[in-house]
């Protein structure tokens, strides 16, 4: 680092040559004749949510909202993203997909702003002395201002400034090596002081000891203006303007580093790994405006050029201005227009619509005539001349890449460092067979990226599938464990119950248990009790009640005589209860058996049978009557009544047997 600062102190700075490179016709003079002009406010502004590298911004306005110039309308979503601000005051009239400047020609979500003509600013938070604020605060402001690289790639600037690596050199890129484009040239001529101020802020944010401003020697006016501005600046001792010979593509980030410092950024690494950060001069101005004036990035300088324009020049274009609105200002001859190119002729892309908006990265619009950009000649066979390898600024082997791209041999393409290709087009420019080499590389890069994304997804799918299998196995194991636990518990309960029953040798309980067991096991679950059984049941309960009553009386009694009487009463009653119970149990079993039989052969009862049935019913009634009498009877009568009842019951049984035999 010391050696480098020493170098700055001396006025003569060593320049390293660019590897490869070409000299296409510059065509820059057409658009430098006029100062940067303003454009009348367009009626509508179309603001794509994705104007930078990374994820699209997230709208924070709704249709119908009134916005002021500079107001936030979409915030950055995620780390690699940039905010979007209203370039003028007006009303949000739509949030919809519109064609955006992209080689695919696809539409993407845009915010449509209808301007009200007032062009009224919102309140701006300017910083008087940025040196009082910590760098992190300034980075946050730069991020909030929605600044992304103005040179072409559109990488969010705040992210580039917060790499966390120690930076010793800030390189300001005023190279503008691509033909036709003069936006940075004009910016340096007219706003040199703002560039120097912006560079000072960037230097402060990065903590970079030195700042190199690289300019190609085909811009003498810009160099003079920048030198004058630097001489006046207080930061003159920390900055140096480095002028080097014009060659395409010296403006590439890694190429510029190589020219200015002689160091090569290794494959797959960033300039920050070498302690360097490269920013475009336009970005420096945007940073100065964001910090010193508090203005977000809402306009940029765009070159309008091409033979189909009457007066090619540079304009201050609001972001979102439709291309045709700008081209009208430059006197577009629509009949002569054959190709509209966004960007330069080497790295730009053509679009097929005129209503495509200017974005933060749109540094040039070329309205070209047929003669200017003739259709590409048919590609011939590769003659292995090797010119492409000599022209390549990244020291790649374009010919090898070409063969492997044709064969779709992605492994070999990666082996030959395809992703170090900056798609500058120098190889295709020198190719005597007019092979569209860059298109092969772009297609292959896309195919490899798609393949990698697919592999990443299939890896994710595999993980999800395996997780699902594991989860299902776990679930079924848990279910099985639960089932087993339940079965065990049920078995335990059953055993306990059986033990209880054995221990509690109560005939009543046993009977109930038997009845229950029968009920549970029995096929006809709900056996209707016959009238007889009902009667028996009633009697049973009545007898029980009486026995209980007697018991109570017995316990309350004090008299010996009465006690004796009651005791004998109770014994009898208990006997009766037991008998009734037996009758009831037997009866219900009988009824069940009978019912089954009836079910089998229900039809056609003969008269005789009917008569017998009536007799049976009558006998039953007699039995009941006797039973009632027995209940109410005194001790003396009971014995005779019981005898009668037994007779009657026997008769009933006999009748029943007869009836069954008949049936």
């Amino acid at each position: 680092m010391n050696a480098q600062t020493k170098l700055i102190a001396t006025s003569e700075r060593k320049i390293w040559p660019l590897t490869g490179g070409v000299h296409p016709a510059e065509n820059k003079h057409q658009s430098t004749g006029m100062p940067i002009a303003s454009v009348p406010l367009p009626e509508t502004l179309v603001l794509p949510l994705l104007q930078h590298a990374g994820t699209p911004a997230e709208p924070v306005v709704a249709v119908g909202d009134k916005v002021l110039k500079g107001q936030l309308i979409a915030r950055a979503s995620g780390v690699v993203s940039a905010a979007l601000h209203a370039p003028s005051s007006g009303v949000i009239t739509a949030l919809e997909s519109r064609p955006i400047p992209h080689p695919s020609g696809f539409s993407e979500p845009c915010i449509i702003l209808t301007t009200d003509g007032a062009d009224r600013w919102c309140e701006l938070a300017a910083v008087n002395d940025y040196r009082r604020l910590p760098p992190a605060e300034l980075v946050a402001r730069i991020r909030d201002a929605g600044i992304s690289g103005m040179g072409g790639a559109g990488f969010p600037t705040a992210l580039k400034l917060s790499s966390g690596l120690p930076i010793h050199t800030l390189i300001l890129n005023g190279t503008e090596c691509e033909p036709y484009i003069t936006a940075d040239d004009m910016l340096m001529r007219e706003q040199a002081q703002a560039i120097i101020a912006g560079a000072a802020i960037l230097q402060y944010v990065l903590g970079a000891g030195q700042c190199l401003i690289g300019i190609e020697d085909n811009k003498p006016e810009a160099i003079a203006a920048m030198r004058a501005a630097l001489a006046e600046s207080v930061d003159a001792d920390k900055m140096e303007i480095v002028v080097f010979p014009t060659i395409y593509p010296s403006g590439g980030e890694k190429q510029l580093i190589q020219i200015l410092t002689g160091q090569e950024v290794p494959s797959g690494r960033l300039p920050a790994d070498l302690g360097m950060v490269v920013q475009n001069v336009g970005t420096a101005v945007a940073v100065k405006e964001a910090i010193v004036d508090g203005k977000p990035l809402i306009s940029r300088i765009t070159t309008l050029t091409g033979a189909a324009l009457q007066k090619p020049h540079n304009v201050h274009a609001l972001i979102g201005t439709p291309a045709h609105h700008l081209l009208q200002q430059a006197g577009l001859h629509e009949s002569q227009l054959s190709t509209l190119v966004f960007g330069g002729p080497m790295m730009g892309f053509s679009v097929d619509r005129l209503d495509i908006p200017v974005t933060k990265t749109a540094n040039c619009l070329i309205a070209a005539t047929q003669a200017e950009f003739p259709a590409a000649p048919d590609p011939q066979a590769c003659i292995r001349c090797g010119h492409c390898a000599q022209a390549c600024p990244s020291s790649l082997l374009p010919q090898q890449l070409y063969w492997h791209a044709r064969a779709e041999n992605y492994q070999q393409l990666l082996h030959h460092n395809l992703f170090d290709c900056i798609e500058c087009g120098a190889c295709a420019f020198v190719c005597p067979s007019a092979i569209p080499l860059v298109q092969y590389y772009r297609a292959s890069k896309g195919a490899i990226r798609t393949l990698e994304a697919k592999q990443a997804q299939s890896e994710r799918s595999r993980a999800r599938y395996e997780n699902r299998l594991a989860r299902m196995a776990q679930e079924s194991a848990e279910k099985e464990a639960k089932r087993q636990a339940n079965a065990e518990r049920a078995a335990r309960l059953k055993a306990a119950k059986a033990q209880e029953q054995v221990a509690e040798d109560d005939p009543v309980q046993a009977a109930i248990a038997r009845a229950k067991a029968r009920k549970a096991a029995g096929a006809p679950a709900k056996v209707a009790l016959s009238g007889e059984q009902k009667e028996l049941k009633i009697q049973l309960s009545m007898a029980r009640a009486q026995a209980k009553k007697t018991e109570r009386a017995l316990s309350a009694c004090v008299d010996d005589e009465t006690t004796k009487k009651l005791t004998s009463n109770l014994a009898m009653l208990n006997e009766q209860v037991a008998k009734l119970e037996q009758a009831f149990e037997g009866g219900s079993a009988e009824v069940q058996a009978e019912e089954k039989r009836v079910k089998i052969a229900r039809p056609a009862l003969s008269d005789d049978e009917k008569k017998r049935k009536v007799e049976l019913a009558m006998a039953n009634a007699a039995v009941k009557k006797l039973q009632r009498a027995l209940d109410g009877a005194s001790d003396d009568d009971a014995a005779t009544l019981k005898q009668q009842l037994a007779d009657a019951e026997q008769r009933v049984a006999g009748l029943k047997l007869a009836l069954e035999g008949r049936l």
């Binding site: 994705l50 955006i100 992209h102 080689p103 695919s104 696809f106 993407e108 048919d378 590609p379 011939q380 066979a381 590769c382 791209a405 044709r406 779709e408 092979i435 569209p436 298109q439 092969y440 772009r442 297609a443 292959s444 890069k445 896309g446 195919a447 990226r449 798609t450 994304a453 697919k454 997804q457 299939s458 890896e459 994710r460 799918s461 595999r462 999800r464 599938y465 997780n467 699902r468």
Partner: protein, 192 residues
């Protein structure tokens, strides 16, 4: 005679030494499982669609390792067949399915207004890419859907359809230029 004995004993000693080294290495550096199955499984697209006749990609990988044909994976397309052929050093076969050589990426889409919340598709999805609950509307996580279409048939109201994934500016890539001539004589006969 003695010299022959020396030679034999020296060779014997060497044989025992190397045998011991190899025996140790075969135990110490034993490879668990069949690594070729893992390699095959990595090439397969992991859609878990079962179109090969096996219940998932790994079972098919296992089957390929056991000699099953390599051309039974329609979601992978010809590219997968070629990759498998390269891995297994076989002749590339043509894909054993009708349809495109380059499969169109599709994802399931539930017409949510028609969904009755039966959870049948949830159970069918091999990668848990459908969210929902009983009697609640279900929806597909498009990013996780593999396009296997296993959820389409179980749907009792037929509200699931397979939709091709739209290409956006972020997934778009430049097309390969139309193939020109490799050598000058390829253009013979084109002048008329």
């Amino acid at each position: 005679m003695e010299i022959v004995l020396y030679a034999i004993s020296a060779l014997l000693a060497l044989a025992l030494l190397f045998g011991a080294i190899l025996g140790f290495a075969s135990i110490r550096y034993k490879v668990e499982g069949n690594p070729i199955v893992d390699q095959i499984n990595e090439i397969l697209p992991q859609t878990q669609c079962g179109q090969c006749g096996y219940p998932g990609c790994r079972p098919y990988a296992q089957a390929i390792a056991n000699g099953e044909a390599i051309n039974k994976c329609p979601p992978g397309g010809q590219a997968t067949v070629n990759a498998l052929a390269g891995l297994l050093d076989m002749e590339p076969q043509t894909l054993d399915a009708e349809g495109d050589e380059v499969p169109v990426t599709r994802v399931a889409f539930i017409r949510e207004a028609e969904c009755i919340g039966c959870t049948k598709c949830l159970q069918a999805c091999p990668v848990d890419a459908i969210v929902g609950a009983a009697k609640q509307m279900h929806t597909v996580l498009a990013d996780e859907c593999t396009g296997c279409d296993l959820c389409v048939d179980p749907c009792p109201v037929e509200c699931i359809e397979m939709r091709p994934v739209a290409v956006t500016t972020r997934t778009w890539s430049w097309p390969l230029p139309p193939n020109g001539a490799l050598i000058a004589t390829d253009r013979r006969g084109q002048m008329s």
